[in-house]
Subunit: 241 residues, 2 copies
DNA sequence: TAACAAATGTGAGCACCGCTCTTGACACCT
DNA sequence: AGGTGTCAAGAGCGGTGCTCACATTTGTTA
């Protein structure tokens, strides 16, 4: 029988380091191609050319085009999450309103700077590609979890002014979903406020998507910063921040 | 010199009818392919196969792949606009709230029924494709114009309860944009209400996009109808309907 | 140090794509 | 009947994802 053999889980990496470097290079080049030609135009052959290697060689490092898409997806989710975290952490813990505004601005800034990667995350699904949820859900939920965390902290501190829109009732079926979320995430925010938080979530990304995807048209809004800022303010009013 | 020649704008169509039929068939097949493989996967060759014709033949009817995309874009905008119009018109003119809700529901229903076409209209831009605005802006603005019309009618009738969120001020630069819109569309709604209308617009499509593009995840919300209904209710509160 | 085996790079090849061009057949209208 | 314009066909160009047999490099081990 073989000895413990090649010791796959040994300490480190003579070759593995080179391999990791190459994979990182492929991701970096993939990011550039994504920005230039979009997700559908991402070409392993082009990446191989830029890497200075024959096209079939990249298959040693990346299983398929879809695998590269997954890597780029995780990479983008990670960068967005990092920037959102940094923006939120820059404000005091009890500045709930400021933290919500900072989160929204960070999302928008990243999206405007990286439209192709934003489109990969929040735009039309790439046809024929199904993201492997076991690898993408965790990085993909960072932003919303962070937002919920802000709401929860504000609620626990009594800083959620619940008066904003008292008349709207939460139907039972929706309340059940929200209760499940409350349980799963361990948040104290009651259902009505949580429901408004969901609206804030979708509205922030709706506004960003409209701007990034060009739905406003080229000339309708010149004051886009002010428009988004205004939308964040109104959303603050809805959620009670 | 030639006579007035083939009289392109003559009365009717021995040949032109067959041609129009073929173009309509191509659009229909393109719609099916769009649903199956997405905008990026739309293939003229595949359409040609389904049409029972050699690939180069379709270029007699459609200038290019982009041209087919444009036709599908206009086709989809038209159908969405028709359905929204029908849903809104089914309610009395002075039921402003009901008409707004009907508009939102119609958008969502169409989007859920036609996710690929919705993605073509409101998802990530197709890389390398620029819609010819002289042909697409008119059909593409029908829904928002309709929504503005509802707000305007409600305002003129004194049915906009402006109290909803009085504290938010509209910054001057944004006010200028909104004033331009007011002038262009001839609406009476003041800037603060118009600004909230923009938020309602982006929020409706944000909510629909989240659902259609699978951003909620498969299990988070079972009561999606109620969720959307709730979001519409809250938006009603914001705009003052 | 020499040899071996794993990791990596190569190039040909398959089937597909959008698109262009030439060629030949057909239908219509005068 | 003849001219004119429309149309289908097919070859071809350069691109894509991906596979495979083969050659080369490289780390490790004897």
């Amino acid at each position: 029988m073989d000895h413990p053999s090649s010791a796959a889980a040994k300490k480190s990496t003579p070759r593995e380091r080179a391999r990791a470097r190459t994979v990182a290079d492929i991701i970096r080049l993939g990011r550039e191609h994504l920005a230039l030609h979009g997700a559908a135009g991402l070409s392993l052959r082009a990446v191989a050319r830029d890497l200075g290697v024959v096209s079939s060689a990249v298959y040693r490092y990346v299983e398929s085009r879809d695998e590269l898409l997954t890597l780029l997806l995780i990479d983008a989710y990670g960068e967005l999450g990092d920037e959102v975290d940094a923006a939120v952490d820059a404000l005091p813990e009890d500045d709930y309103r400021g933290r919500f505004l900072a989160l929204g601005r960070a999302v928008r800034q990243w999206a405007l700077r990286e439209p192709a990667r934003y489109a990969l995350l929040f735009g039309s699904p790439v046809p024929g590609y199904q993201a492997p949820s076991e690898r993408t859900t965790e990085p993909g939920t960072r932003v919303i979890y962070r937002m919920v965390g802000i709401f929860d902290a504000a609620y626990r501190a009594g800083a959620l002014t619940a008066e904003a829109a008292p008349a709207v009732v939460v139907p039972p079926a929706l309340a059940a979903d929200l209760a499940a979320i409350r349980g799963e995430l361990g948040v104290a925010v009651p259902e009505p406020e949580l429901a408004k938080g969901v609206l804030a979530w979708t509205s922030v990304f709706g506004a960003v998507s409209f701007e990034v995807f060009g739905q406003y048209g080229p000339d309708t809004f010149a004051a886009r910063d002010e428009l988004f800022e205004h939308q964040l303010e109104v959303l603050c009013g809805i959620v009670g921040l």
